[in-house]
């Protein structure tokens, strides 16, 4: 009767259990379900062994192009992952546990997440972090909702230079609420500060910006933060954690809430997930934070330990009055982020950030030598930059895909009138030879 070897009972054990329950068949356990509610059909294919399963999965993976040369980003980045990240996060004691509701037998997860929160605070220059959100886009949405709660206002201003997917996620989260969302179209790849100044008034809960922005441009928001704070509004910045190895931190700029996607910190591309979202804020906002938060405390003997804290914010206590609906988060991915950051370490992260920028600057200089191609000069960039091509970027990108090169993200889909623009990403994994190959292929594509 048993087709599933993960269910260990022998027929004898099943009979014994049934007799203790006082029934004669497993089917009797389902007697409470009226016949008219029973499934009329169940058409899944028959089961197979784990070996056949793995072969099927290999065949599926084999249908993707596997040796694509990535010069694309869009929020997910092809970075190095130290081998220790897989091995340590792959300890079953971490990955087959669940939310640490019982702290005494979950100190491993709890301490690791406390250390993760610390790493996020130190990276962003802010005071408090939670134990992870879902991804970068949902983190933007959670930060916006947090600002609505903190200020009691109902207007959010979004810089159009923020990742278009994250902007869409934010709008989807808020579409059924009575919230006014205003988007400022980019001005030459940067925040249109004059437009923002005109809009900034006492109804604004928060302004959302991104650094580096979707075009790759680096900005400095210290003055902007002061201007926003003068209206008692909050500044939310979405940031790219690898860039924080060298770039001014949100905390140093006066940002109130920093968010971002943690994929670049030790999580594989994995066709878009799982990664994790991070959120950090000034301490005064801690009771308005979404999600799980780990806090330090002691036991009766004074031994240090860690617990889920401020749970009165959460859905399992507060139900509809909770600060968010989050239950499962992306804990294991956050753990990977911590192991990654601890592996590269203090000086390693700065070196990695510099390496990213050096490679991107090299690519930028080579690409700007292609006849007819213009690279936006004057605005500093990190590991992504925008180029203007003499023809549709869509055509160029699809031509290069045929040569196994993902040359960049064309902007036409995301910004009206930007059909000839391409955002190119160069991480530390790209070699000079690979960059030269991109440049040569771009040149050939543009000559045809």
């Amino acid at each position: 009767m048993n087709d599933n070897h993960y269910c260990p009972h022998t027929p004898e054990e099943i009979s014994e259990m049934l007799s203790i329950i006082g029934i004669s068949s497993v089917e009797e356990l389902f007697a409470a379900i009226p016949g008219e509610l029973r499934a009329k059909s169940f058409n899944l294919p028959p089961g197979i062994s784990e070996f056949e399963t793995f072969d099927r999965m290999k065949a599926i993976a084999g249908e993707n192009k596997s040796d694509m040369l990535n010069f694309i980003g869009g929020g997910f980045y092809d970075h190095i992952i130290p081998a220790a990240v897989d091995h340590l996060s792959g300890r079953a004691e971490f990955y087959t546990a669940y939310t640490p509701y019982q702290p005494e037998c979950s100190q491993g997860t709890l301490q690791a997440l406390f250390e993760y929160q610390t790493a996020i605070c130190r990276l962003t220059g802010l005071d408090v972090s939670n134990a992870s959100l879902y991804d970068g886009g949902t983190a933007c949405a959670e930060a916006a909702m947090m600002a609505l709660r903190v200020t009691g206002r109902n207007r959010i201003i979004i810089d159009g230079c923020v990742n278009p997917f994250s902007r869409q996620v934010l709008k989807t989260y808020l579409f059924n609420l009575d919230v006014d969302i205003v988007e400022i179209p980019p001005l030459d790849g940067q925040l249109n500060r004059n437009a923002l100044t005109e809009m900034l008034d006492d109804s604004v809960a928060a302004v959302l910006v991104q650094n580096p922005n979707f075009f790759g441009c680096i900005d400095e928001f210290t003055e902007l933060a002061a201007q926003i704070h003068a209206k008692q509004a909050l500044l939310i910045a979405s940031v790219y954690p690898i860039s924080l190895g060298i770039l001014k931190s949100p905390g140093e700029m006066g940002v109130d809430i920093a968010v971002g996607d943690g994929q670049s910190l030790g999580n594989p591309l994995s066709f878009g997930g799982p990664s994790f979202g991070f959120i950090a804020a000034r301490k005064t906002f801690i009771r308005n934070m979404p999600g799980r938060i780990i806090g330090e405390t002691v036991d009766k003997q004074g031994r240090r330990g860690f617990v889920l804290t401020l749970q009165a914010r959460e859905q399992h206590i507060k139900r509809q009055k909770a600060t968010s609906n989050i239950c499962s988060n992306q804990g294991l991915c956050a753990l990977r982020g911590l192991i990654f950051l601890s592996s590269v370490g203090k000086s390693g992260l700065a070196e990695m950030a510099i390496l990213n920028r050096d490679k991107a600057e090299y690519a930028k200089s080579q690409i700007s030598g292609i006849p007819g191609v213009t690279v936006l000069q004057g605005i500093p960039t990190f590991n992504e930059f925008t180029v203007a091509l003499p023809q549709s970027a869509d055509l160029v990108v699809s031509a290069l895909l045929k040569k196994n090169i993902a040359a960049g993200v064309p902007l036409g889909q995301y910004y009206e009138g930007s059909e000839n623009f391409l955002v190119v990403t160069v991480t530390e994994k790209r070699t000079r030879k690979e960059i030269d190959c991109l440049v040569k292929s771009l040149e050939e594509a543009l000559c045809n």
Binding site: I48, R91, Y95, Q301, Q315, S324, K346, P380
Partner: protein, 480 residues
């Protein structure tokens, strides 16, 4: 145990980066740079490995301990699933969104499409989005879809109805999606009170959110009647799939009147819980809600190729940046094809058998507030033990000392001193028998020596922790 930051030594490093093969770029202007490097740990790879290995040993987990955490389906996570997901690590999601890029991602796009097909058969729904990243994220997505459906018909509607036994995420998700909550009490027979439900319903109700079997582990035989009443008010029925492990192949939520469902791949479909996540919460809908599903949507074209559907005007937009937690979905897909039709039926039958076995074996020792055949989990109350001053939490801590992860306690909130046990189908009779003996011992100790229970746990790296101090001091980040 020391924090990783306390082991840090300036100048030490865990990993060597590749050497640069390009010229150094000119420095960025100083005003764009951080004033000092972020205070990340500095330690050798070996010290790093020992730190995290030691931390891991301070956890209970499914691979090391019986983990009957109710409502969480902590079943065994087959190792082949991990190997399967790792195959997809190198694929960049943007590739599929580039012009002509789908051609290079037929494997991953096809798998997502097929997973959707399998889930429609399991749940009785018509269309699936794989974008939601967790169960609660699926709930929010589902309620936003319901909102879009009503708005398209010229109504916004105001309320979402939930039973008082529901998961906390249900009212929280509906509130975040812009609805006020109406809570309907549970009747003495353990299901949502039908009369009070009828009274609560009105034409401003957008949706009724149900878990079936509910959090008491009981299947509601009136579910069709409830959905008929909801539909008569033009309200839609939402199915919280947290307890789907009980009914695979037995009942399809889509057949009994549900319009929207989320499934927790990390519960029902054997993917690990990761110490809190990642999960995955695909949402299934009936045809009438399909136009509102989030983008990007994967469809099969006339030639059998998997492509992005052109954006529909009614879509709610995007609930996550890409296609969802793909790695988790790869594991769930492998799980479903490996177990197949009969295997999934076995899952539900034996999950239910195991829960009823534990219920019968413990009924003489613990109060059973709703004494009926249960589904995949059973809910006791520690009310008898409370007479001796022993709470559900004390029993939990006793279990920890004996090497068992405690059941879910104090949930559902409608049961005083609730103890919610979900053994899952992957546990052997021997494991359950040993657990049962310890539960019986706890009940006896509650009578003979309650103090012993109050003092537990004694064998862990820490004893009971001062949660008030944690909440008051709010030390959530290591200073330095």
């Amino acid at each position: 145990m020391q924090l990783i930051y306390e082991q840090s030594v300036s100048g030490r490093r865990g990993v060597k980066l590749p050497a640069s093969d390009v010229p150094s770029a000119a420095c960025l202007p100083k005003n764009l740079l951080r004033s000092e490097a972020a205070g990340l740990p500095e330690l050798s790879e070996l010290d790093l490995v020992r730190h995290f290995t030691r931390l891991s040993r301070r956890n209970f987990s499914v691979d090391t301990n019986f983990y009957p955490l109710g409502s969480c389906s902590m079943k065994y996570n087959a190792k082949v699933l991990e190997n399967s997901a790792a195959l997809f690590a190198p694929f960049h999601p943007m590739t599929a969104l580039l012009p002509g890029g789908e051609e290079y991602c037929q494997g991953t796009l096809g798998m997502l499409y097929d997973l959707g097909q399998l889930l429609t058969d399991i749940t009785g729904m018509d269309e699936v989005t794989t974008q939601p990243l967790a169960g609660a994220h699926g709930e929010m997505t589902g309620i936003l879809l319901i909102s879009a459906y009503h708005r398209a018909r010229g109504k916004k509607k105001k309320y979402v109805v939930v039973p008082d036994s529901s998961h906390g995420t249900n009212p929280a998700s509906a509130a975040i999606a812009g609805y006020e909550i109406i809570t309907v009490p549970t009747a003495p027979y353990g299901d949502m009170d039908l009369d009070l439900f009828r009274q609560a319903m009105n034409d401003e109700v957008a949706a009724v959110m149900m878990t079936c079997p509910n959090t008491l582990g009981l299947f509601n035989p009136h579910i069709k009647e409830i959905s008929d009443i909801a539909h008569s008010h033009d309200a839609l029925m939402y199915y919280d799939g947290a307890n789907l492990n009980a009914i695979m192949g037995k009942v399809k939520p889509g057949d009994v009147g549900f319009d929207v469902i989320h499934v927790n791949l990390h519960k029902t479909f054997g993917t690990p819980h990761g110490g809190g996540g990642p999960g995955s919460g695909p949402v299934g809908v009936k045809k009438a809600l399909a136009p509102f599903l989030p983008q990007p949507r994967i469809v099969m074209d006339d030639e059998g190729k998997f492509v992005m559907e052109s954006v529909k005007s009614g879509t709610i937009g995007r609930t996550a940046n890409f296609f969802g937690n793909f790695g988790v979905m790869a594991k769930a897909y492998a799980y479903i094809i490996m177990l197949g039709r009969e295997g999934l039926i076995n899952v539900s039958e034996q999950a239910v058998l195991n829960a009823n076995y534990i219920k019968e074996r413990l009924r003489d020792y613990y109060e059973l507030p709703y004494d009926k055949t249960c589904m995949h989990e059973c809910v006791f109350s520690a009310s008898r033990q409370l007479e001796h001053g022993v709470h559900a939490i004390d029993i939990s801590k006793f279990l920890i000392d004996r090497g068992y992860h405690p059941p879910t306690v104090y949930f559902p909130m409608i049961v005083k001193e609730a103890i919610m046990i979900e053994p899952t189908e992957t546990e052997s009779k021997a494991t359950m028998d040993a657990f049962i003996e310890v539960m019986i011992e706890a009940a006896k100790t509650a009578e003979s020596n309650p103090q012993a229970l109050h003092e537990a746990p004694l064998t862990m790296p820490v004893g009971r922790l001062d949660e008030t101090k944690a909440a008051r001091e709010q030390n959530v980040c290591c200073a330095g």
